[in-house]
Symmetry: C2
Subunit: 253 residues, 2 copies
Amino acid sequence: MNDPDRIWTAALVVIGDEILSGRTHDKNIAQIATWLDVQGIRLREVRVVPDLEDAIIGAVDSLRAGHDYLFTTGGIGPTHDDITVDAVARALGVAVVIHPEARAFLEDYYSTRGGLTEARLRMARVPDGASLIPNYMSGAPGIRFGNIYMMAGVPYITAGMLDGLTGTLEGGKPLIAETIGCWIPESEVADLLRETEQTHAGCQIGSYPFFREGKVGANFVVRSTDRAAVNDCVAKLLEGLHALGRETTLGGI
Amino acid sequence: MNDPDRIWTAALVVIGDEILSGRTHDKNIAQIATWLDVQGIRLREVRVVPDLEDAIIGAVDSLRAGHDYLFTTGGIGPTHDDITVDAVARALGVAVVIHPEARAFLEDYYSTRGGLTEARLRMARVPDGASLIPNYMSGAPGIRFGNIYMMAGVPYITAGMLDGLTGTLEGGKPLIAETIGCWIPESEVADLLRETEQTHAGCQIGSYPFFREGKVGANFVVRSTDRAAVNDCVAKLLEGLHALGRETTLGGI
C-alpha cells in the first residue's frame, strides 16, 4: 500500500533569455506552483536558465532524479532559439525524432494556415520515446518523457497544457494554508511565531511583512497537510496576537 | 589593462516558500535583471529555493564560484523563517556575528519604535567579515560578503538596496537590445531569424510570440554589446519581414 503521508515533489526549469534579461516578467512559476499544489505536489526548486543547450542540460540533469516530476517551460516553438527538445534529448541520451501524432496534428492545424513548413515541423520533434501533452490553445503540443514535462513558455498556452494534465499526475495530501493578517511589525511577533511553530509539529509558519497605507503589517501563513494541526496552530497564533492587543483578519490583509 | 569585452555575470538565489507555493508572484527576478543590465552585468541563472538551510547552502555553494556576483533575496528579516544569514555563513564556513554598525543603526531606528528587542537584533546578524548594504526603506540593512549580496525579499525594500548599490559594482559593456514587432506567426519567419542570426556574429535574436486581438504576432529582440552589429541585424530583419509583405513596428508591439 502506498504511504498516504508521502510527499510528492516537483522542480521547474524556466528556459528563456527573456526572463533573465528582465524583459519578460515570469508568470509560469506562480501558475505552475498553484496548479501543482492542487494536485498534491510541492514545487521544491526552480531554476531559470538561458537559451543555451549546456545550461538546460545541466539543470535537467541535476533536477530530474531528485523529484517526482520535472517541468520545463519555454523553448518548444518553431524558431532557432527553441532548443529545449534537443537539450533534454541530449541529457537523456536519446535521439530526437518526429512524433507521428504531433506531425498529423500540425498538418491538420496548418492545413488552413499556409501548410506544414519545415520550421513548423520542428514542433513535432520529441526525444525518442516521448508522448504528447495536449495543447488546447495553439498547434504545438507539450511533450512528456518519463517524469519530465516540457511545456510552452507563453503563459496562456502553458495554462492550457496544465488543464490537459489536471488529474493525471499522482500526488499526495494537498498542503493546507491559512493566512492571518495583522497590522503589526513582524519583529514584535518573532518570538510568538517561533514558539508557536515549535509547539505545533508538522506546521510551518511563514511571515510576510508589508508596508501599506503608511503603516506596517504582516500576513502569517500556517501550512500543513493536517487540517486539525493548522486549525490548532491558527487558534494559538490568534490568541497570541489578541493578547498583544491586536486585531486580526482571517484570510490575510 | 582590463579586457573591455569581458562579460560580467551574476546569479540570483530567490529564497522563499511563498514563491514556491505560488502565494507570491516573484518581482525580484525581473527587477534585479533589469538593474544588473544597466550595470553591464548579465543575470545568467536564477534558483528559487525554500526556506531550508540545506537548500540555500546548496544553491549558494554551486553558484558563487561561477559568477562575478551572487545575489540572494529574502530571509533576512527578524522572524524564525529568516535563515539566509545562517545558511550563507555555513556555506562560507564563517561564524555569525552582530555587526556593530547594523546594531547601532537598528538601535537608532527602533528608539522611537518600541526599542531594539532580541528579535529585531537578529537583523544585525551577519556572516563574520561582512559589510552592510544601505536600506533606505526600512530598518534592516542588506549584507555583502565578498561577491555575495544578500538583499531583502520585499520588492520595494530590495529596490532601495539596489539604489544604494548603483554604480558600485564593476561591469562590462551593457547589452543593447532592439525589438521589432510584427503581426506574423513566428513559424513563418523561423528561417529568416535563423539565417539572420547566423550571418550576424555576436548578435542573438529572440522570438517572443503572442496572441492578441484575435491574431498572432511576435516580437523579435536583437541583442549584442555592439551597437553597429545590432543596427545591421535589425536592418536585415526589417528587410526580410518587408519582403514577406509585412509591416513592422520598431520597439515592439
